[in-house]
C-alpha cells in the first residue's frame, strides 16, 4: 500500500476536523438562523457546542413554520435552553409517548393537561394563561 504524504495529511485533517467541530460564535451564524434563534443571542456563547449544533438544526426548520409556531418557538427557546440535558431528554420521551396514544385519548389527555397547567399557573398569576405559552 503506497499512500502519498499529502493524502495521509488530508485524511488526518478530515478526521481531526470531524472529531472536533469548534463552537460557532453568534456573528458567524447565517443571518436567517440568527433571526430564528434571536432570543438566544445574549446567551449563545454560554451554550455548549452540542446545544449550539442542536439549535442550529432547529433554526434550519424555522422558515417552514407558520407565524404562530414561530412566535411559540421564540417564546420558549430561552426556557428550553436552560433545561438540563436530562430534562430535555425526559421531555422528548414524554412527548413521543404522548403522541403514540390513539387520537381520542390524546385529545382527552391534551385537554386534561391544558386544564391542569392552567390551574397551576392561575394561583401564581391570577390570570388564565394564553394557550401555547
Amino acid at each position: 500500500m503506497r499512500l502519498s504524504q499529502p493524502t495521509l495529511l488530508l485524511l488526518a485533517a478530515l478526521c481531526f476536523q470531524s472529531a472536533s467541530s469548534a463552537a460557532q460564535s453568534w456573528n458567524d451564524i447565517p443571518l436567517a438562523q440568527r433571526e430564528a434563534l434571536a432570543p438566544l443571542a445574549q446567551e449563545w456563547d454560554k451554550l455548549s457546542e452540542k446545544q449550539q449544533r442542536n439549535f442550529l438544526g432547529i433554526a434550519k426548520r424555522y422558515p417552514k413554520l407558520t407565524p404562530l409556531q414561530q412566535q411559540r418557538m421564540h417564546d420558549r427557546l430561552v426556557k428550553w435552553s436552560k433545561l438540563t440535558p436530562a430534562q430535555r431528554q425526559r421531555a422528548r420521551e414524554k412527548y413521543k409517548s404522548f403522541n403514540q396514544l390513539p387520537p381520542e385519548k390524546r385529545e382527552a389527555a391534551r385537554k386534561n393537561l391544558r386544564e391542569r397547567h392552567a390551574t397551576e399557573i392561575q394561583p401564581r398569576t391570577g390570570a388564565t394563561p394564553p394557550v401555547g405559552q
Binding site: 500500500m1 503506497r2 499512500l3 502519498s4 504524504q5 499529502p6 495521509l8 485524511l11 488526518a12 478530515l14 478526521c15 470531524s18 472529531a19 467541530s21 452540542k50 449544533r53 442542536n54 438544526g57 432547529i58 434550519k60 426548520r61 413554520l65 409556531q69 414561530q70 411559540r72 418557538m73 420558549r76 427557546l77 426556557k79 428550553w80 433545561l83 430534562q87 430535555r88 425526559r90 421531555a91 422528548r92 414524554k94 412527548y95 413521543k96 404522548f98 391534551r110 393537561l113 391544558r114 391542569r116 397547567h117 394563561p129 394557550v131 401555547g132 405559552q133
Partner: protein
C-alpha cells in the same frame, strides 16, 4: 556506411562515436540538463514518497501497525459522523415540542 548493414550494434557504435565528438558546449549543456532532471526527480521522490514506504525504510514501523492506525482513524471518523447525525435527529422532536399548542412545562417533570 551502407544502409543494408545497419543493425543495433552499428547504430550504437555510430551514436557512441558521435557522442565522443560532441563539441564541449553541447556536452556541457546536456550534462547540466541531466543533473537538473535528476535533482527534480529526487525532490519529487522525497515529497511524494509514501508514509508507509518511509516508515518501513527509515523508522521500521510495521505495515500492519500502519494499517491498524488508518483503520482506527476511519472508525473514529465514522463514529463521530453518526454521533453528530444522531444529535441532529433531536431537532425534529425539539421543534415539535417548541411549537406545540401545549406549553413546554407539561412535558417537564
Amino acid at each position: 556506411m551502407n544502409n543494408k548493414h545497419l543493425n543495433t550494434k552499428s547504430i550504437r557504435n555510430l551514436l557512441d562515436h558521435a557522442t565522443d565528438h560532441l563539441d564541449p558546449a553541447t556536452a556541457a549543456h546536456l550534462h547540466s540538463a541531466r543533473n537538473h532532471a535528476l535533482a527534480k526527480q529526487n525532490t519529487r521522490v522525497a515529497w511524494h514518497g509514501s508514509l508507509a514506504c518511509t516508515a518501513r525504510e527509515h523508522h521500521r514501523i510495521p505495515f500492519w501497525a500502519l494499517s491498524i492506525l488508518l483503520a482506527g482513524g476511519l472508525l473514529l471518523c465514522t463514529i463521530t459522523y453518526w454521533h453528530h447525525a444522531a444529535e441532529h435527529d433531536h431537532s425534529d422532536i425539539d421543534i415539535a415540542i417548541l411549537t406545540d399548542d401545549l406549553p413546554v412545562d407539561v412535558y417537564i417533570d
